[in-house]
Symmetry: C2
Amino acid sequence: MSAQSELLQKIDAHIEQNLAYWIGQLARLCAQPSVSAQNQGIEACAELVATMLREQGYTANILPSAGYPVVVGEGRGTAADKTLLFYLHYDVQPPDPLELWESDPYILTEQDGVLYARGVSDDKGHIICRLAALAAVKDTLGELPCGIKFIIEGEEEIGSPNMPAFVEKHQDLLAADACIWEFGGVDYDGRPRQALGMRGICYVELSVQSLNRDAHSGLGGSIFPNAAWRLTWALSTLKDRHERILIPGFYENVLPPSPRDLELLARLPEETAQLKEAYGLGEFLLHLEGGLALQRTAVFEPTCTICGLTAGYQGIGAKTVLPAKASAKVDFRLVPNQTPDEIVAKLRAHLDAQGLHDVNVTLLGGGRPAKVDPDDPFVKIANETAVAVYGCDPIVEPIIGGSGPNYPFIHTLGLPLVSAGVGYPGSNVHAPNENMTIKNFLQGTKHTARIIERFGRG
Amino acid sequence: MSAQSELLQKIDAHIEQNLAYWIGQLARLCAQPSVSAQNQGIEACAELVATMLREQGYTANILPSAGYPVVVGEGRGTAADKTLLFYLHYDVQPPDPLELWESDPYILTEQDGVLYARGVSDDKGHIICRLAALAAVKDTLGELPCGIKFIIEGEEEIGSPNMPAFVEKHQDLLAADACIWEFGGVDYDGRPRQALGMRGICYVELSVQSLNRDAHSGLGGSIFPNAAWRLTWALSTLKDRHERILIPGFYENVLPPSPRDLELLARLPEETAQLKEAYGLGEFLLHLEGGLALQRTAVFEPTCTICGLTAGYQGIGAKTVLPAKASAKVDFRLVPNQTPDEIVAKLRAHLDAQGLHDVNVTLLGGGRPAKVDPDDPFVKIANETAVAVYGCDPIVEPIIGGSGPNYPFIHTLGLPLVSAGVGYPGSNVHAPNENMTIKNFLQGTKHTARIIERFGRG
């Protein structure tokens, strides 16, 4: 056995031997609510994360942003001229609907090798994964092989509205050579996934107030403006039943996928059966059945998703009310080179042109789409180390359907980003019963450790 | 002073002297929740109403219907061949949104001559008004001048789905010569209103389930069916922005108002300024400014009102979820000769024709529109007695915008119906801070008493 193989075996063994300790740390972190959408537990969670970094020997500061605080940490390593940055987030999605959880979302619960809690995968599981991997590498080598930086924000689940400005402002503090992103993991068959880009997001609330109070529907039905109707009509002008977004100019900055993107997409495994089963899906939209057409639509098409609707009476039975207020949450996923500012402006202009001046638009979160070069040397490191851990080549996705603030890291800091982590398709992220398997935790941590070790060797 | 005048003065004095007693009885009745939409307190309220009738010397039975129980009461009078029927309801609208109430909706609260509670006007105030009027007439004359019957149901606020069948089944029990309806009262200027007809109602829930659980909007936005979009598209096919209902055949049974209807409408006072102020309204729909055009549209046009919308995330901030379920409450107000069954069938056929087979339609309540002949002798009695109480001619409305189960009373039992009561435009019925003024209670009770006395004299 080579010295290198032996070293990696020791790192793996360290991760396995310390599993109980890290699960305990994960339970501690998940017990602290940190719902950014509802400003619940945010400050306390930032404090806890800083404390946990310091306990592992890193410096940690809680820096203000225009929104929630950002934890920035640092550790020195052997190679003074090489720095690896970890982007993570300490906030989580709201746990509701609570009645669908089978255990308390804030008490880490294990069943049959699976850990359940809000944030156990997205993203507290990844924070612990990084700390566990770094501890294994440091303890095994005696010292970290390179400089380490952390940026752990509290607004990822609400669209990271302040990350671009924060990164812009703290470019020197965050300067690095490469970045490991906040997520990663495996597909339905246990193959590692490498995500090289993300769609952008423009999350808005549309709201209408047509009266100063609700009216009796018998009184006003024929003659009073109804907020729920105004909202319905506004929404119906945004997208047709063929999924075509109708906002003028919406598609004008859309860049089609490159030949290299399409080549990578064509190699992706078919997951249609698993998706259909997981979501009880009869058929995909647009009669898509699978193959490159489905893969391409899933990630290279921008979207307009109604995430929520609220108006009037929502209890059981009938209430004959004409609602004074109505609102909708609408999430646009953007592809290169669309921008959230552009979309909000076009949406506003569209509603005005439709005579829907009374429909207010509030931007709740936005981020630009961005992609990493699939042939970057750091991407190669991440892919090669995955083979050793997972026993097969990773699936390389040129862009994924989800969003995150990768744009300022790729474009402002100029870093290659890779994904590595503990996720799997059954994690129920953003949904009740969010979970992570212990197997995936161990694999994701070993993969992260190997990227650190390999990057440190240069 | 004539004997007749003296008699009426004694009746009025009786009503005034017993005010505190009747307010106490109203407090007792309002303290009992009876929310039909939520099946809350229904049985207990039926029992209480029966007890209160018996305390006043009437027989009272609680009869089953296919839904909630119906209280049927009876009392004998001098004229054995003349019977007056009172239709009332003991159920109330849900009190929510609770946070907008300035007092507990189930504790009768007085402030500056105004009584506040859920149901204080609609319809518990009218139950007490009838009992107070009857007691005054009986005590003054020594005996009731005619037979009295009560039918007090518990499903009016959910569209009285079982009233037609109940009336059909109990025609003998309910046989009478005339009927005083469950409401009545004054307009903004204190003039009494006489409502001679009501629009029908067809209240449905539209619901869609597109997945077995919510999905991440980044994952499914481009390829998964979204229940909120399906619902939005379905709704947008029901009515256009010119308020035209688009369901094929929707208008085919609509009967235009008669010349007599238009004559009565033309005499109605202009209430546009009051309505605009009460609801913070900029302008009426369809650029209507007032006059006969507005009056006619308000009551002789059928409607399609969205009463409620529910889907996905409705909290503060952003949640990137693709909703598996969405639903809407939709209330169609019908004019002669539309029927709820016809509308449900046409709605279903329309959605199917639009390819919206996945949008489920559930009928939550329905009732046919109906009108009384404005020249019926009993209508004349009600109008003439109003002059004495209110000091002016009543406003006669050939049909009003609201709905109620008058069809079986007018068409199955063959009765003329009149309105008389305690309402006024500021009552906030179906809304927070429902209220009744003591002045209106006294007037409505005096008017009711005079109708009884006059009807009994023949």
